[in-house]
Symmetry: C2
Subunit: 335 residues, 2 copies
Amino acid sequence: MSPRKLFVKDLGEFQLIDLLASALGAEHDPTASGDLLISIGDDAAAWRGSNSNTVLTTDTMVEGVHFSLDWAGWEALGWKAMATNQSDVAAMGCMPMYAVVSLGLRGDLPIEGLEQMYRGMAAACAANGGAVVGGDVVRSPTFFVTVAMTGSAGDEGPLLTRDAAKPGDIIAVTGSLGSSAGGLQTLRDGLALDSEIASYLHNTHNRPSPRVAEGYALRALGVSAAIDISDGLVDDLGKFCAASGVGADLRADQVPVDDRLKRALPDDWISLALSGGEDYELAFAAPAETVTEAKKKLDATVTPIGQVREGSGVRVLNADGDEISVGRGGWDHFK
Amino acid sequence: MSPRKLFVKDLGEFQLIDLLASALGAEHDPTASGDLLISIGDDAAAWRGSNSNTVLTTDTMVEGVHFSLDWAGWEALGWKAMATNQSDVAAMGCMPMYAVVSLGLRGDLPIEGLEQMYRGMAAACAANGGAVVGGDVVRSPTFFVTVAMTGSAGDEGPLLTRDAAKPGDIIAVTGSLGSSAGGLQTLRDGLALDSEIASYLHNTHNRPSPRVAEGYALRALGVSAAIDISDGLVDDLGKFCAASGVGADLRADQVPVDDRLKRALPDDWISLALSGGEDYELAFAAPAETVTEAKKKLDATVTPIGQVREGSGVRVLNADGDEISVGRGGWDHFK
């Protein structure tokens, strides 16, 4: 039992999730049936099917907290509502399958906007897999969009999970980091930019490409430890390490950052890459030879950025191997 | 394309759902894979598994719209968040399996309350099946709880759907109707009641028992047309008829109503039973002999209340067979 007079604002997201999971009680054991593989605490839950494992995830976007219609168009909003879930499915090494959409709607929202949002959802499904098959629509003083999505592993092989990183593994990421957060910053601040750079940054923020094919390919290569980077690299690596019971050394100078982000935000790009959030790239840990193979076989670039070690926590190092402090915290939903 | 300047408040829930489903576009066809059995428009979506069909549903509760902590305790809130989804799964003739919970939380909500809410969820799972296996927790100015839940058909046999009622079928309901809405009314109005009656009505409102075993048994008896009564009998029968392309005659005098509701609210019980909402009973349509068999075999009472006919719409008749008008509309989430 938690002490009295503790409120949501007093806890971090993960402390709160731990407390709520505990409140379900020891007798609430969904693994008792023998079919459940992964419960609370990973990118998605997973259970054993008769010839393919299935995952289930959910992700919520709240107006004024996760998005503003001032800098995200309606279509982008629909795209992102799907993409955040597709990214969680990708982080398990699975293919998106079926989605249900719950909408909390203010009465003064325009129907035309909502239709555009659904077109954005359909576009994200066409690009990344999955389909909207149902949902719930309710009245709410605050506009929110919740999507729950299943994914299929295609076979019974092990999934990508957060708890499988081992000391000595190389940590690598797909794509480049920080451009989504850079896009948000330039949109919010109304920063004047070269149009090609603006288009790249805004598009990376508004229409992220979840790494579905890459997650599936990593699983086929025998990778078993992965997480998607939605809350910022350092923050998500912290969760990855905590789940695996290991520590990590991260080389800040090796983190892949697009030149256009560096040019647009020369003072901020490194902190954005380390802790900006909403990248929807995959971080994974595997033996060096597997990472080398992944570099060859994946469509996206794969960049080694550090190594798993015994212990706990993420040390961020510079090119000389000295520990540096990260200026901005990761994205915590409450603090 | 809808006309410009149409807003959420201008449309009913089902008009809006139709528009949004259309906005997904013809090329967004989740049945193309051949695995999807039921998409947008039923109590849940459903797809074919290799040896068992699976359903997926979602249901959202928003503070100030669907509940108030003034008359629903925290534990009841958790129970109901599960029960509404379990009822949708039951209305497909399936067993609840895995649930993910998305919480939109104000910073000033007490942790102890949220823990009680999760204990309520665990209790509803212990009673009615299913387990919480994950979720998402976000900050929100409005408190809301969204649950998405899968269910298993146990085999490949046809599911209970809304579109299978046939002219000549008898319409029957499980349990009794109106007591949940009566419970809400007495709680909200602070009506002084005999303690046994108060306990019955409040409990029916706060801890509804979804008809999981009954839905499964109906399917085993060969019933194929059913819906759960969450928005009020007349309103939900209207959806049932529209989905099946039929009409229905409903005998108001045959609708089962508990004596305790009649005693507590002698002027309101019939309108509560016809359109109060939140009953979480099942209505189904089947040939007379199947309904007779269901009366014998189901744990819950089964009461014939009308008949399916050609045409459209629900006619509410009195004991003399004359059409009567229903004083209150069903529960529409927007109008």
